[in-house]
Amino acid sequence: MSDTPRALRQPLSLRLGSAGFLAFWCLIAAFPIFWIGVMSFKAPVDAFASNPLDVIFGPATRDGGDGLSLLDIVIGLAFLFFSIRYAMTWLPKMVAQHSPGGQMIAGWIIAAVGYAVAFVIGFFVILPFVLGLLNPILGPLGNPIVGLTTQHYEAVWVENQFYNNFTNSLIVTVGVVTVSLTVGTLAGYGLARSGSNLAFWILIIALVFRALPHSVLVAGYLPVFVNSAEILRPFLGDAAPTLYGQPWAVIAVLVSINQPFTIWMLRSFFQNIPNELDEAARVDGCTHFQAFRWVIMPVMWPGVITTGLFSFLLAYNDFLVTSLLLDQSNQTMVPAIAGYFNRETTTTDQVEAVAAAVSITAPLFLLVMIFQRQIVSGLTAGAVKG
């Protein structure tokens, strides 16, 4: 900081104010999420207690025989800390080393999934086992002081087979991101390189589509989706599918709903890539498609990743479309959680829903951790200039 010009150096009051504001913001940003995390580990009586200390220490949970000792907490926190440390430092290095050039994304995906699985096994299986052996030996250090139970997670993942919903979410999300980007980059490129009035009007109409309330559209899908076998029979014969409950039909709907945003975003990225680049390629004898594939795409990755993240969030978080058009066996996670609330619930159901909610937030955590730098640099590179 010593070589900062004097005028840029900040008075103490400003620095304190700025730091204080940041601390306050981080508290607000994280607290609700932290709190549902705490709730999900408590017995129902504790989770909805009005005294915050009861929620944190969970006396009823502890009396129920589930608790953490001082030792558990210390070792658990240490484990968490080092896992995050490694995820930040060691993991990127390994990926950079072991994935062949150009396959960084695949490398990241494999590494992230592998790391997550290793973490889950380490934290939820090996650690409890070891601590279960250690606690009785250590006397007072091993006595439970904080009530904590994972019964709700067990109920969600084991009894209610939440992993089915997880797989469905994965299918829908991966489908949406892939199709959305494929279709969107093509259109974004076309729109960015065409100065015609048609392109302008397409963009304007897309903008209006972007602004449409979804419930307007979605309600129209249901009768068509349910009766699609009957409607399509004249064309497809007996092979006509019932679209209701089909993940790929939902993927198509989500991709379409997301298209306006995708093409706008990608168009602004493409506009920042100089026209000379593809013109040069065209002079060398490439067609538009070849220029697009071999010259433009390689420099587009930051934009594509940023846009892809937004598509991911949309597909992963969607409730309106998935809850209406998927049946139980193909349901994704968000409507499945809403199902816990919609039925005639008991308090236990609600805490299970909280546990499920925390479970579906975890992958998002991971995602942001990994792609955080990408988001900022991607936005710096493209969208913010357009």
């Binding site: 009586v45 086992f129 067990e154 084991v158």
Partner: protein
């Protein structure tokens, strides 16, 4: 979360999947059902799944999908779960089949009481009844020397005494969440005051003395309620009971078992049930009777229907009821009425008996209109008459749209 418990859970689920043996029929037809998702349905659909080749879908928002799914050809589901409210669209569309033949062949264990007949044809098989009735903290009422209230005036008087004694946060609880719930509470009270919702020609008839009285009594209740009553649904009231913060409420019979659930409730054994209070002397209890049951789709082959019906009967048998006795007021043979069901039975057998919730298109429209327009009265924006006039106007508009009124 010990390793042991995980292994145990795995072992348990393995046992559960081997339990096919419990089902007497060996089902070989692919079957699917769409039902609501409360406790009783969990029990019944679990029993169905034991028969194999069965996929149960439980969804509390089933009514947004069910009419369309049954109208498709072939129907997307063979078995549907309905109540006396939600059977209406299926009857209107003619997408459920008469069950007389099937009952004759496979329904030996059914009681006559379970057969829902419309114009003499059996259209549905009821499995349970439900009603809203008075739940009260027996210990509090005894301590304060209050008799169990039988009318709403007595309920309010008792609430006043409890309020003064200050033993709970709020003397009363009520399911007044805007929308379906508040409309249902109004329905109860309105019928209790002897009102009729629509005239014979289909015009609305709620802006009447009965309507104003019903709103008056409900407003009187609000003094003793948690001020957040416009967001309080059955689960919320149930939680208030469980946490010991209310002393009385007119709540669904299907919620009774939760009061004695030791994992959640701090008032185990202290909550008793009594008949729904009367709104006026000599009237019926201010509540409605509901049934839940199953229907079989029309747009499926007869073989599928036969298989579906047999499986359905398998779930509605003595074994299932004995295993889940407290989950509902079952109509199925083998049900043991206990302390928890006293109130519901007293309500259902009162003289004059409370009305069954009317399953008509008009009632559906009226219910929506009530749910949308009544909250303005409780927020103090309009008077009772204005609110009821707004209900009638909203009903008239939607009835005209639906073709029921000219």
């Amino acid at each position: 979360m010990k390793l042991k418990t995980i292994l145990m859970a795995g072992a348990l689920s393995a046992v559960a999947s081997m339990a096919y043996a419990d089902c007497a029929v060996d089902n070989e037809v692919e079957l699917r059902s769409l039902t609501a998702a409360f406790e009783a349905w969990n029990a019944v659909t679990a029993a169905w799944e034991e028969c194999g080749n069965f996929q149960a879908e439980l969804n509390q928002e089933f009514r947004t999908v069910q009419p369309e799914a049954f109208a498709a050809n072939p129907s997307l589901y063979q078995i549907g779960g309905v109540s006396n409210g939600t059977i209406t669209p299926l009857l209107n569309q003619g997408t459920i089949r008469p069950l007389d033949d099937l009952v004759e062949m496979y329904g030996q264990n059914l009681r006559p009481n379970q057969l829902i007949r419309i114009n003499g044809e059996i259209m549905a098989i009821a499995m349970m009844v439900n009603t809203q009735h008075l739940m009260y903290r027996a210990d509090i009422l005894e301590d304060l020397g209050i008799d169990v209230p039988t009318t709403w005036d007595e309920v309010l008087a008792a609430a006043e005494v409890i309020q003064e004694a200050g033993v709970v946060d709020y003397p009363l609880g009520a399911t007044l969440k805007s929308g379906w719930n508040i409309a249902q509470d109004f329905n109860n009270m309105f019928l209790g005051y002897g009102g009729t919702f629509v005239n014979d020609d289909g015009t609305p008839n709620v802006n009447t003395e009965a309507g104003v009285n019903a709103l008056g009594t409900m407003m009187a209740m609000t003094e003793y309620l948690d001020p957040e009553y416009l967001v309080s649904d059955s689960t919320y009231v149930q939680q208030q009971f469980q946490q010991g913060s209310i002393a009385m409420a007119n709540l669904w019979a299907s919620r009774a078992a939760a009061m004695d659930d030791e994992a959640e409730s701090q008032v185990v054994g202290m909550v008793n049930m009594a008949a729904a209070p009367l709104a006026m002397e000599g009237g019926a209890p201010a509540t409605t009777l509901w049934w839940d049951g199953i229907v079989i789709a029309a747009n499926i082959s007869d073989e599928e229907a036969a298989a579906a019906f047999q499986v359905a009967m398998e779930g509605l048998d003595r074994e299932m009821v004995e295993a889940n006795n407290d989950a509902a007021i079952w109509l199925v043979e083998g049900y043991q009425a206990g302390r928890l069901s006293e109130g519901a039975i007293a309500t259902a057998s009162a003289q004059p008996a409370p009305a069954s919730y009317p399953s008509t298109s008009q009632m559906g429209l009226m219910h929506t209109a009530l749910g949308n327009e009544l909250p303005a009265f409780f927020t103090g924006e309009v008077s009772a008459e204005e609110a009821l006039a707004a209900v009638e106007a909203a009903y008239t508009t939607s009835a005209q749209e639906a073709g029921i009124l000219e």
